[in-house]
Every structure is written in structure tokens, then in C-alpha cells.
Amino acid sequence: MGLRSFFKRFFSGIFKKKKELKLGFYGPPNAGKTSLANRICKDFTGEEIGTVSKIPHETRKVQFKEKVEIEYKGKKMTFKIVDTPGIATKIDYEDFLKFRLNKKEAKERAKEATQGVVEAIKWLDDMDLVVVVLDATQNPYNQVNITIIGNLVARKIPVLIVANKIDLRKANVKKIEAAFPEYKVVGISARFGKNMDEFYEEIFKLAKKV
């Protein structure tokens, strides 16, 4: 090995370790991606990343927070938290009318939501690691979940599956584990901050795979 190549490797090694990892949050609409991203950002920066709502497709643009230093059991890692719009195969403005939006607002929301889905997919290539956030009260065999995970595997991006909303009676983490036996599944409640310790532990394990 030449001296120049030695120094190149040595310094790139140092910078690689200091690099800010892009941690993406993906999943179907209303699974709690923003709630979880908010919880992390609030815990470590004191600020939230975006607004949450019961109306699906509240996040219609990719939003991110840079230099979020997560500290867990004495270990520290810096991430760029990337919260993405929910990925769906259909968007019907009439579904938003049920939430007391008028027709114009519902149509605008639907239009922005379709653009958000495309934007979320485009960002997939930029991620270093991804948390797939699923609603533990819903059927995990939804094709969107399988498509997202399939794309991450194809791009060799490490994946952690989060079964969110375990505070709800209908939540079934075991069903999600059975649907994705090859992945680590962590059951949490982003809303109430339940089981976040296990989540952070798995994030650190996942970051080592990058």
C-alpha cells in the first residue's frame, strides 16, 4: 500500500465515522412516522419536525432535521432525520371530505399528497438506513409495506420495522413479526414514548450495518 493511499484510507475512515447518517422514516399514511420523528427530535434537539393529524396525508412534503445527535447508554451518533410522506397506491379527495375539509381543500390536499408519494420514493436512494413505521392495529400484509421493504432490500439499505401504536387495544405486534420474520420488529408508542429504549438500541445496531 502506497503512503498516499494509506493516508487517504486513514482520513476517509475518520470522516466516515463522523458522517451524519441519513435516517429515513417510511411507511403507509397515518402509521405515525411524523409522531416518531417528532419524539426523537424533541428528545434530542427540543424541537419537533412537523405537524401530526388524524387526517391522512398530513405530511405531504419530505421534511428533515439535520445534526440530530442521539445519545443512548453513553454512545452518541449524529443523524439527519428524514420524515417522508406516507406511500399509498390510491388517493381519493372524497376521503378527506369526511374530515370536514371542503371540496377545494380536499382536492388540493389530494394533489399535494400524490406529489408527496412521488417525492418520498425519489428520496429512497439517498437514505443510509430506514425505519419502516407500521400501524400495529392494521393488517401488515398491505402491498405498500412489502413494496417499501423490497425496495430497501434491493438498494441494500438496512431496515428496522417499527410496530407503532402499541398503546391501542387492537395493536398486534406478533402479527407484524409473523409477516416479516426476517426483520427485527420493535413495538412502540410514539405518542406516549413507550419502549423508546429498545428502539434507540436497535437504531444503534442498525447504524453499525451502514
Binding site: T89, I91, N142, T147, N151, A154
Partner: protein, 134 residues
Amino acid sequence: MAKKSLGKIKGLSVYFLPYSEIKDLDSSERIKKILNIVLGNSILVLQGRLAPEEETRLIEDTMAMIGHVKNFKGIELAVISGSESDGFFDRLKRNLLSAIAGSDLTSITIIGAASIVKEIKKNPKKIELFLKGF
């Protein structure tokens, strides 16, 4: 026992697409063909499955069409694999076969316009299509 009824089924069209018909097409042409069938108000049953990147491309193209094609609100999509509960060696064998054939031909992909198919419920061994207006 609940009274069973077949309901009124009128003009439901199911289009079977053998993998051989899309085998030689590139990804753009495949997705175009699939969306043309779906826009023709048929429920598409495709032998095999699309690659993950093609599935996201299908979603992207679908999103681009919502709002531009009248009454089009997207698609419902489901893939059933005949071997989801297989062990490691079964999957390895299947992957090798898929690599030779070019697709996982043990799978079936079902796609319908969201204006016709309200929901596709999938469990590992069962797939249910809930149609609008029934």
C-alpha cells in the same frame, strides 16, 4: 348460518396477463401495459410479479395520473406468493429458478383501479377483493 348471497355482478372484467407477454418489455413498457389494462376497467391478474423498483415506478406513474385522468383515483395492488412460508433452502431454490426464468412465476399479482376495487385484503394464504358497489 348467515344467508349467502352472490349479489349483483355486472360486467366485471378480469384480464389474465401471462408473464411471457411482458417478459421482453422494458420496465416503462411493462408499466404502461399494466396501467392501460387497469384504465380499461379490468382487474388484472398477472403471472409472476414486478421487481421492487418496478412496483415503486408503478406507484409513481399511478400518482402522476391521479387528477389528470378523469375519475382515476389510483390502484389497489396485491401480490400472492405461493411460497411465503418456505424455509431457507426452498427460497434459495426459488430465487435460482426466478433468476433463470426472469421473474418469480410462483407469484400472482392482482391490480385493479381503485374506482372498481375498494380494497384487497391479503392474508398469507387468502386474498379477498372487495368491489365498489357491492
